[in-house]
Structure formats: C-alpha cells, structure tokens
Symmetry: C2
Subunit: 158 residues, 2 copies
DNA sequence: TATAAACTGTTTACTAGATTAACAATATGG
DNA sequence: CCATATTGTTAATCTAGTAAACAGTTTATA
C-alpha cells in the first residue's frame, strides 16, 4: 500500500503488477476457473474414471431412470447426436441399458443397472471430495453465494 | 411453497421438479455458466470477430507490448505451441508484429500495431456491452462478489 | 572453456468435445 | 390420409487444446 502509482502506464520493468483488462471480464474469469476445476476433476477421478460429461449423464440416468436420449440431451444442454457416444460408453461399461418403450418404438429409455447405480454413488463421493479439497479456501457461505450467482447467469441464457 | 414433499423419491411423473445432484456441483454449474457466456460472446462479436482466446491474447499484447510468446502463453495458461496459431492470426490481420529482440535471438517480442490497438479498443467495448447486456440481472455488487469468488477458485490452482 | 542443461518458437500428430446435416423409422395433427 | 415432427443414429467437420520432437540459442556448471 506504499505506492500510489496505480496507473496502467507502460514501463519496461519486467515485473508488471497492474490489473490487466482481462481480469475485469466475467467470461475470462469464468473460463479460467472452469479450466482449473475441470482439470482437478479429471485428476481426482483418475485414468479410467468418468469424464465430466459422462459423469453428468450417468447422474441424470440414475436420478431419472427411463429418461430418453433426447430428454437427457436437453437436460445437459447438448445435441442428441453428441449423446450417442456417451451412452455407448456407459452401456459398454455395463452401467445402463437402452430399453424399448411400449407405445413408442422410436425412443430408447435409459435405465441404470445396479452396477451403474453403484458406480455413480462412488463417483459422486469422489467428485464431492475433489470439490471439497480443491475449494477448501471457500467457506460454505461463499460456495452457496457462488452457486446462486452462477444460477443467475444460467437463468440469463438467451 | 405449498408442498412439503421435497424428497428425491422416484416417481413415474413426466414432470420431475426435484433438484438433481448435478446442480450441487460447482464444476457443473461453472461449466454451464461458462458455455452461456462464451456463446453470447461469439454472437456479440459476430462472424469474423475475435474468438475469446484471440481477444485475450490481443488484450495482453496491447497492455504488455514486447511480451514474448512464452510469456504470453504463461499468462494465458496455455502451451506455447498452442499460441502460434493465435499469433499467426493476429499478425495476419495486421494487428501485431513479431519483432526480434537485441540480445536474445531466440525470442520474438510481440508488438501491437496501431490498427491492433484500435481493434482492441473496439472489441473491448463490444465485450463490455455484451457482458452488461447478458448479465443485466446481476447488479454491480453481485458481479463484484462473483469476481472475487472466481478469483478464489483461480487462487486454488494446484 | 567445454559441455550439459534449459529455453524459444515452431511443426506435426493427436485427442476431446461439440456441431451440422442427413437418414430411416416412427408418431402426431390437421 | 398426408404433411409435419420426433427419435436415435451416422458421417463430416470444426475448434481448442495437448504432447512430443526439433533446431537454434542462451545459461549454468564442472
């Protein structure tokens, strides 16, 4: 707090301490934060753990059994074509089944297997402890505030 | 607030209103919010406007002229190999120059052109108004709080 | 001073995540 | 019945990013 020279004047010093414009943009900070959390997620879940999007898909299938692929894509905010590979992976690992629905032969309802429910419970615990560990410098109030502010951003989707 | 049935009990209703696990994870909400902001950024800057990462790079070059590519990559948190295409694009558009530095023939200092400084000022204004418009349901306090919480996440990088 | 180690910008190959467009099969609404 | 819409799927494409190698150059060390 000694110096009052807080301008963004250009110098040739190798140590530049002024806040660059970038830090003032929410988008930039959102991305940097997201990259950090996402990288730690992968580290925490390990080599052949779930990728974030696969974890998310499994989570919804476990919580909403019989969800259709289209419905799941809508919930995740991705195209249904992009979901095929994710469901293929989960089915290939024996964590869910594609089942046909009497009355509509187009849809394939997704049903978690017992192994899928178990794998999800384990993964959820791992994700929870990853976030708790990584974000240990935020207290519960701060986390709740962050969530509500992120929810506001999500609510402003065009 | 009429019903107290707030369990996550499984039903066969087509309208499921309970909060799924996913919404409780900071990583998930961070990603969803980031996707929304990033998509609006691109929409706002238009067909041949800057991609977010190109905008970020130009911002730093304008604010820190003579930054090296390695230095810029470090600031952006990406590999220097990934920066080559970004700098190629900016140089190709005539917005910066690669200049050689007397005393170290390895490095190429990046210097914004006048056109680059102008383009950045315009883009920065466009980005500011995009964020102001998109995030108009957050007041200044909320935005400041969000920034400080995101900064805390950034500070917890491993 | 000789040599090993490190750093810079770059290319190439690869991966992940995602989108768009088309398609056949099926369902729904005038 | 017929036009329209929906579902799951494939194929082609795009973007953003990494990792590994490389030649040229600089720095550190023995």
């Amino acid at each position: 707090m000694a110096s009052l020279r807080k301008t963004n004047r250009q110098t040739e010093d190798e140590t530049l301490v002024e806040t660059p414009d970038l830090e003032e943009f929410i988008g930039y900070n959102l991305k940097r934060a997201y990259v950090i959390v996402q990288a730690d997620f992968r580290r925490a879940l390990g080599e052949d753990g779930f990728a974030p999007r696969v974890f998310s898909a499994l989570s919804l299938v476990v919580q909403y059994p019989n969800v259709t692929q289209s419905g799941l894509a809508r919930m995740l905010g991705i195209e249904r074509s992009g979901l095929v590979a994710i469901v293929d992976e989960l089915e290939g690992r024996g964590l869910l089944k594609r089942t046909n629905v009497p009355g509509d032969r187009r849809v394939q309802a997704l049903v978690p297997t017992n192994a899928g429910a178990k794998a999800y419970a384990d993964a959820r615990a791992a994700v929870r402890s990853h976030e708790e560990r990584l974000l240990s410098n935020l207290n519960d109030d701060e986390k709740a505030t962050l969530m509500s502010l992120l929810a506001k951003i999500r609510a402003s989707e065009v």
